[in-house]
Symmetry: D3
Subunit: 242 residues, 6 copies
């Protein structure tokens, strides 16, 4: 893949289409049915999956399962301390909805039966891409919970029908780049989060011209970068579960 | 433009690439500096623009202006009554952020000076596409406020540098369609909101695979539909301001 | 009727006992069972009535119906923008209680059965008298809902036993006047809202000496003015429903 | 005074135009600048007045003083326990506004200077008429604070220009009665609170047809009853301050 | 008992091991099943006990009763007015939990059956030791409610198995003292609240080195002082109930 | 040390006076000025210390520094998922106050100058003793921040004047034990948290008879156990900082 504009040097020396180092620690805490500490560069998110033997009341009687997510940052995940929000501010709620929506696409709700999984993503350290790391890590926690449910007789078969991961792409100083750390993110003219399946199909695209609009050809290039990134992240996901 | 799948009949008889009837009532109320009632089919949104001679404290001293937006639904905008939320629930806040972000791309903040415009979008009747109607109508109200500011000596020149409109596209029963009413929206497998400038560049793309992921070629087709729709909406915007 | 003090000139040139122009747009939106846009001079309120086939839990088993109301202003209904409150501030809640109490007097709860009507009054433009316009318009929306319920077999007979309207009166620069716009309201020494039935009996009187106390004879004169105003508003109500 | 309908026997044996026993304990607690425990029959309210040497920021620079009030019930003031609300529910806030509005009519804000008095009315036992007892007792606390301010050099002269008291009247089983206890209040067809000055002029009238509308002649009779009651309560107020 | 350091003169002239004057007014209000006004020096707390014939849902089916408590201050209980909090701030909630926990130790939940008592402690005047006065007074209100329940056939036997009282001790200017008023409390280097039974056993000890840590021997001395104080308070409790 | 009752076997096989395995990971995240992951058996808390170059406004102008703390649990720290509370529930706030109070005893506020440290304790996994682990770990984070401040010229000397740690003790099945895991905690008859300095003096003692009162001799034994535990924890603290 060729970058449209190659004279931009990334602060951490990466190639324009190179992911940050990604480490996954499965079963990181022992209480939840799924629990993953995921590190994408300086971003570190604890993703837990909590199984419940019932669905929320509005879904009772449907025969179908449910998956939802909550995202929050601890106060000093970032460079300066933010007041404790416990997932209540509107940015956190918007991200929670994105994570929940994305992970629900992974699930066969009929196979799940009237049970629910709650995904909690707590950002312990933030360096850009916290929502995409939450989706990528959240999917592993969800898969661990599915394995737990199968092993413990809660379900008859694995209810995970898609592998889901997410990555950010963006345009910084005119150059399209993959997996932006905070230093790039805060000066990007375009910022995009792309959620994809194992076959590269799109689950969610959220692209914003933060400083200026972007063209069709820029969009194409960014989506190619994202596809490359998600393919590599999905390998990490499978390794963690192996 | 050819629809990929043409045997889907739209409930209201429209062509797959046809907008709903769009009516704009400029200066609909008299207190705000900008005020527009916009109707897109059965969706009806009152968009007001309130000028303030100062910016929020965090932006003071920057020499730059500010634009922000709030979106809310009245309780019985929809088929069944929702509890009154006053823009406080997380869906409304997410939409408010989208509207504000989109409209800020229209503005030359230096030309604006340290003044602010508050865009309020109150949905009086909802039939799908309320957030895109809010952006399209909100831009007209913003432009009215800019004209007011110029006429009243608050600014030296028109600070609107881009024309901005938004429209929804989606995939319903396998067919890509433009400008979905509620009846289509609630069974769409993919739902996408596209915000564009007068030159067709993208300000924001939010695409969600609600029921199944979508492919690259579907994405291309949807973006073409959106471009057609936004071009037509921008003609309406200009007519309303004439 | 003679004004006690006749040398006060009303800003809009009206006689002391003259209502502002009142326009009623019935069935203004299509989702609610009742929906009325009412304009009293510069005041514009959207009143909707939402039917529900059950009563709140505390009234279940009584065999009786229920009517309640909520009032709110959009942020830029007034000359300067207020923060969005969604009916939550104490002034709005006090007005909501007044509207609900007044409209409940119109209803035969036995004839209604265990069903409920929720009246929502959203002030789109405010120029004094928003609470009285809400009651006058809310009664029309309630009546529309009663007609809907009769037509759709929810009730066996019309459950509206009284016609209810409301109007403001006050003392401005020593003169008693009917139907105060904001310009008069903010300098009135006495301000009074009067809710009456079709026979002129009182449903609610709320009179406040804002700047000085008022005497018995002033009270009598104000109540006569209110009776005249409510009689005329009730003609408008009947015309709108015809 | 003759009662229109005299065969109604009041539960506590009082005449239709007779007040309940009213006891006032001035300076009941020692921290506040004014502090009164007032008992009207079974209703017992602790009214405190807190002096502050500054006004709220919105009134700064006006040269004028300010008086405001807060009303709350302790959980078991009534026959069954209510959840603790701390003056936050809408009924309490409505009553707080009534008390504040009424007591502000007593004050010469210029003579007060840029100082404020906060009146707190905490209902320790409720048996009807808690809002009127709060106004009657609140005025004594306010007067005590005015005396304190004069004595302590905060003001040059007494800034209380009116004596204010309040009482309830109503129609029970067709009979007009004065000063309703809870047992009468909950079956009254009309309920009215009347705030008056030392000369009998009206500061506030809030009359509600709770079960049926009321006529002009009923209104007149009720206002006469209220005038009689307030006259007697004002004697109690003066005695307490003597 | 000898004070370790005897040259400290208490502001109110008391001996180091002397309680403030304690007065108890049983059955102070008539609605609650238990109601006590307790005065410990300048501290005055109204403690009510509300009986309910059912337990909270989480305890239903256990066959056991429940006791809980809520503590709040009226705004001007203290020297300067605090904003009305209705028991919602964290200090009040912490104290509420302490009172509830302490009083639950008094109760035989089996003998109580599936009934609940809600203790409300409203501080009308504060001069130090409000939480301990609340426990001491709350126990009397609880006992009154138990007597009411026995008399009214709600329980078969007295379910109060322990007598509970509480007192504060502390170190002021190096001297250990009993029952600190506000003037001592705000300069104490150690502050301790001690809840004890009729046999002197400990229900709760909360000791804090506010300005400096305290030693083992200081702790012993403070606990001896507390035991003396609680013994005397328990005599007051029994007298009030006699 | 001899246990009073030695036939109780601890679930994890420890001696009655033996701490759980305690591991400390200093500088666990890189954004905060102090950051420690502390593990005490199955309890795992992330403690961060955030330096600010100013104090809260109420302390400005005093010349003194400030330390405060916030404690929260992630939803699935425990065996079943709790709703996300972000430190807002009353239990969390009570614990936050305890941590803040305890750590303030460690600090020479004059040496600190008008700067502040915010300690955040986020419980990632809970198995009893989360508040004591927060204090023990919080002190290390605070010390790291003090070292940072000294190194970065914010202060002229180390402002930590005391070493502070905390441990729980309790009575389980009649046996006094040190450092209770959840399995013991939930059946303890007495539960006590003890905060001590490097010399063994007490900073805070919070002892509760959860099921029955406790005697003087039991108290003495528990305090001896706590002193032994804190001595050992303080060795761990010093090792982590070495």
């Amino acid at each position: 893949m060729d970058s449209i504009k190659s004279d931009f040097q990334r602060p951490d020396g990466r190639e324009f289409d190179e992911l940050r180092q990604c480490r996954v620690y499965p079963h990181w805490t022992s209480n939840p049915e799924g629990s993953v500490l995921i590190e994408c560069g300086g971003t570190r998110v604890l993703c837990t999956a909590s199984w419940e033997d019932q669905v929320p009341s509005w879904r009772a009687g449907s025969g179908l399962g449910w998956v939802t997510a909550e995202y929050a940052m601890i106060p000093r995940a970032t460079g300066t301390r933010n007041s404790r929000e416990g997932g209540k501010n509107s940015r956190s709620q918007e991200i929670s909805r994105l994570i929940g929506r994305s992970l629900r696409m992974a699930v066969d709700f009929e196979a799940m039966g009237e049970c629910a999984v709650y995904i909690d993503c707590d950002v312990l350290q933030a360096d850009g891409g916290t929502r995409t790391a939450s989706i990528t890590g959240g999917w592993i926690a969800l898969k661990e919970a599915a394995q737990w449910a199968l092993k413990n007789g809660r379900v008859a078969k694995d209810f995970i029908k898609h592998q889901i991961s997410a990555v950010s792409v963006g345009i910084v100083e005119g150059a399209e780049v993959l997996d932006l750390p905070y230093a790039e993110d805060c000066k990007a003219s375009t910022d995009m989060n792309v959620v994809q399946t194992e076959s590269g199909e799109f689950v969610e695209i959220q692209g914003t011209g933060e400083r200026s609009p972007f063209s069709s050809s820029q969009l194409s290039f960014l989506l190619d970068l994202a596809s490359k990134g998600n393919k590599e992240l999905q390998i990490k996901q499978r390794e963690a579960l192996a």
